[in-house]
């Protein structure tokens, strides 16, 4: 059968863009950071247009074989791993920026566009505009990030990546092409309103409801920006200071923080036995907050900074440059890079020398961020692990992100196993906090995520999926 499938795929996209060579498909089996269980890519195809994606999906239906959308495979939960084999549709040839509308501040990008592609295009051709960019590498995909509620350096101002989507073009699991948002009935991609929000059929579904071939993404004015560091002794103190700032100050683009352990890994240091497993308990300053604030004039900037300082209260405020000067020279570059993502955060995944890392990441209420951290630290400590904490204030303070990463040596099965047990226990315990919802959850956490959902809601999700994908070919093993 596979020979026949291959021949048909070659007819659609050309033989140079189809491969079933083990040396090529091997690289699609794994998520190479989390060391989650590998899947199998039987055949990989790289379409160059929406029409070709349609053809591929139709073939998958004809043969009743899985079809897995893929851009870069670095989204950290094994979300792009082909769980049931089949055809991986690698969208990297579809990486064009099709339009930038400067008046309405949006770009139309193809589904395989990466951060490097989008950021580079805007810096070169539209320097007055900027996208919201996560702390991700340049090779990661824009559209998958936004579809999975990724968060960016504009998330305080504008919310999650999903909020940045104005509309989509999607090849459905049955091969039809639909458009959502204003592009459904006009040639503009300016908003999702005021139509039925079909975009929601594809946001948060882990690529299980269709292959997005185009997206309208919001852009923002690229204003002069200053970066302030808010230091606090504990995460609890820092969170309270951030909440005060969020309520009282305008013009803030981003508010995020790391704990002592993540800061060390971020700057390029490696895990050592003498590093405190519980920095707060050891009396080490444990909250390092970054506030990015934009203004059109120096006067405006000074006023905004003054307001932030006043609101921060007991938190110590300093500018990023000054804080970086406190660290050895070789540790500073990663700090400098923070201001211009995408970023190569090499050390977050290599803190324990071995390139492995996985997180328990949640959307949650500000009320539970500090508790989340204390739970994570205490569990990690039990396992002798260093908990790297990272958080972000979203949507003007309406909700938060909290994430704890555990690094490990992905070449050492026992280390992976120990880290996984630790992560699972953290996951189990933080889930008891009433506001916690996991995001980009790996397969082992997915079902748990819905344990408190009402049966009717779950049934609706399943019904929608069955409706869209009657043959069950679209990314099986992912989504609910």
């Amino acid at each position: 059968m596979w020979l026949e499938v291959r021949r048909e795929l070659e007819r659609v996209v050309g033989s140079e863009y189809v491969s079933s060579d083990p040396e090529v498909t091997f690289l699609y089996h794994w998520d190479f950071v989390t060391a989650e269980e590998p899947g199998v890519c039987d055949i990989v195809v790289m379409p160059g247009s929406t029409r070709e994606v349609q053809e591929v999906v139709r073939l998958a239906n004809k043969w009743r074989i899985p079809v897995v959308p893929w851009v870069s495979g670095v989204n950290i939960g094994g979300l792009a791993t082909p769980r049931r084999g089949g055809i991986v549709v690698d969208l990297r040839r579809m990486n064009r920026i099709l339009e930038v509308n400067e008046d309405d501040m949006y770009a139309v990008v193809e589904g395989g566009t990466t951060w490097g592609d989008l950021k580079g295009h805007l810096e070169r051709h539209h320097p007055d505009l900027r996208p919201g960019v996560p702390w991700a590498p340049a090779g990661a995909g824009v559209v998958p990030c936004y579809l999975c509620y990724g968060f960016t350096d504009l998330s305080f101002m504008a919310g999650t990546g999903a909020d940045f989507l104005n509309g989509l073009e999607v090849v459905l699991p049955t091969g039809e092409v639909v458009r959502t948002g204003s592009c459904m009935c006009t040639s503009y991609w300016h908003s999702r309103a005021p139509l039925p929000d079909l975009t929601g059929l594809f946001v948060g579904w882990d690529g299980a409801t269709g292959i997005v071939t185009k997206a309208g993404v919001k852009l923002w004015p690229n204003l002069p920006t200053e970066y302030l560091i808010l230091l606090a002794d504990t995460v609890r103190d820092g969170v309270e200071a951030f909440k005060r700032v969020a309520r009282k100050c305008t013009g803030i683009l981003d508010m995020c923080f790391v704990n002592y352990t993540w800061l060390m890994s971020l700057l390029g240091y490696h895990e050592k036995e003498e590093d405190p497993l519980d920095p707060e308990e050891a009396g080490v300053q444990d909250f390092y907050g970054l506030i990015a604030v934009a203004a059109s004039s120096e006067r405006e900037m000074e006023a905004k900074k003054e307001a932030i300082e006043e609101a921060a209260g007991t938190g110590v405020l300093a500018d990023l440059e000054a804080v970086m000067e406190l660290f050895p020279e070789e540790a500073r570059p990663q700090g400098y890079a923070l201001v211009n993502p995408p970023i190569h955060f090499y050390n977050c995944w290599n803190y324990s020398y071995g390139g492995g890392g996985e997180w328990v990441g949640c959307y949650l209420s500000s009320r539970h961020v500090a508790s989340y951290y204390r739970i994570a630290v205490s569990v990690a400590k039990k396992y002798g692990r260093h908990a790297q904490m990272y958080g972000r204030v979203m949507s003007g303070g309406h909700h938060w992100i909290a994430r704890v990463n555990i690094s490990f040596n992905k070449d050492d099965p026992s280390d992976i196993e120990a880290a996984r047990r630790c992560l699972m226990e953290i996951d189990e315990k933080v889930r008891q906090l009433p506001s916690v919802v996991r995001y980009k959850a790996p397969s082992w956490a997915k079902e748990r995520n819905f344990s408190r959902a009402s049966p009717d809601s779950l049934e609706l999700i399943k019904r929608v999926r069955r409706l869209l994908d009657p043959n069950g070919v679209m990314n099986p093993g992912h989504g609910l």
Partner: protein, 430 residues
Amino acid sequence: MGARSRLLAKLKAGEDIPGTGITLRRAPEQLELERRRPLSYYRRVLYFCGKCGQCRYVYQDAYWSRVCPSGELRKFEAYYLGGKNLLLWGLLSGKLEWTSKAAEILYHCTLCGNCVQQCQLPEIHNYALEWLHAARVEVVNRGLGPMPEHRRFGEWVRREHNPYMEPHSARLSWLGEKPKGKGEVTYFVGCTSSYRELEVAKAVVSLLKSSGVKFTLLEDEWCCGSPLYWTGQVDVVEELARHNARELEKTEAAVAVTSCAGCYRMLKQIYPEVYGVELSMEVLHISELLLKLVREGALQPERELSWAVTYHDPCHLGRHTGVYEAPRQLIGSIRGLELREMLRNRRNAWCCGAGAGVKSAFKQLASYAASERIREAEETGAQVLLTACPFCEMNLREAAEKAGSKIRVLDITQALSYSIKASRSEASQH
């Protein structure tokens, strides 16, 4: 953008890794590994790679432009550095079998190192070129390589001491009268200038004569070994190195100079570091020597050429040995030349596509990479694309001709030579 610009300027101000032109923003606590070790030595570090894709883009510069000719042509991850890292890890871990396809992937690369420049994971940034080369040696040891074209020129080098299927006896056929006696400077011509890009060799000799420097050539120059070394055919390279070193020492010159970036890297870096063949003389690239001669007034490029030019950094000269500025300063010394930089320059320069056996075994890749560079050169509005390596010059010129480009491709020595010759002839007219 205020603070952002300041911080990014600091980020970009990295330091060169000693002995290479690769710049790393230094990282604390990076592992120190040994160089020139067998592939298996690097297994653990290979798997540090998370296949994040940063190796596909210039990092924080040049509008995040793409950097990998091999990957950009073939598209599959296996053809980028991240893919190769993990493919090698899979091969070394027994998850994949060594096959001719694996060999093809590993050879489908010019080893230009641009990807390595961009990866910020210090252990990969510092050492990836070591394992990309060691992988080729491994492939040869396993009988899966080199590629047939490589084997053919390898055999020819063993027999006639050049990879161009030419007779050894014709090596100096371009040269009228061989300089007599010993010299302060020995010109190591290299195979490409001896057999293919004769104008480069002639320009060098003409310039050396004009400068009044006493120079000589080797009595019996052999291939420097670069095409063999980088295709993993390392068994014969030591013999070539020792022969050439003996010949160089016989000249008793204080300086060995070469106009080929590949030869330069071999003489300067690979001979001593890999084979322990230390030369008693200083090794210079021709751009370094000519710049010195211009500054001393021995050469006076006085005639205005009135060309807008751009400069292509050869990988062996730039990223691998750190010579970025001498060619540019030399261009700056020629009256009337206006240098317009390409977007991807110096450590981020896009490879011409010829090196490491690609031009012979993967013609489509060589042609694709060069045509992309020609397109980039054209974007600058330059009339002339200058480079400092005859192998780059040859590949770029062929691509320009194939594309019907109006841009003229020249070696930097040719431009200087025109300027000197013109000024002399003008002087004689007055």
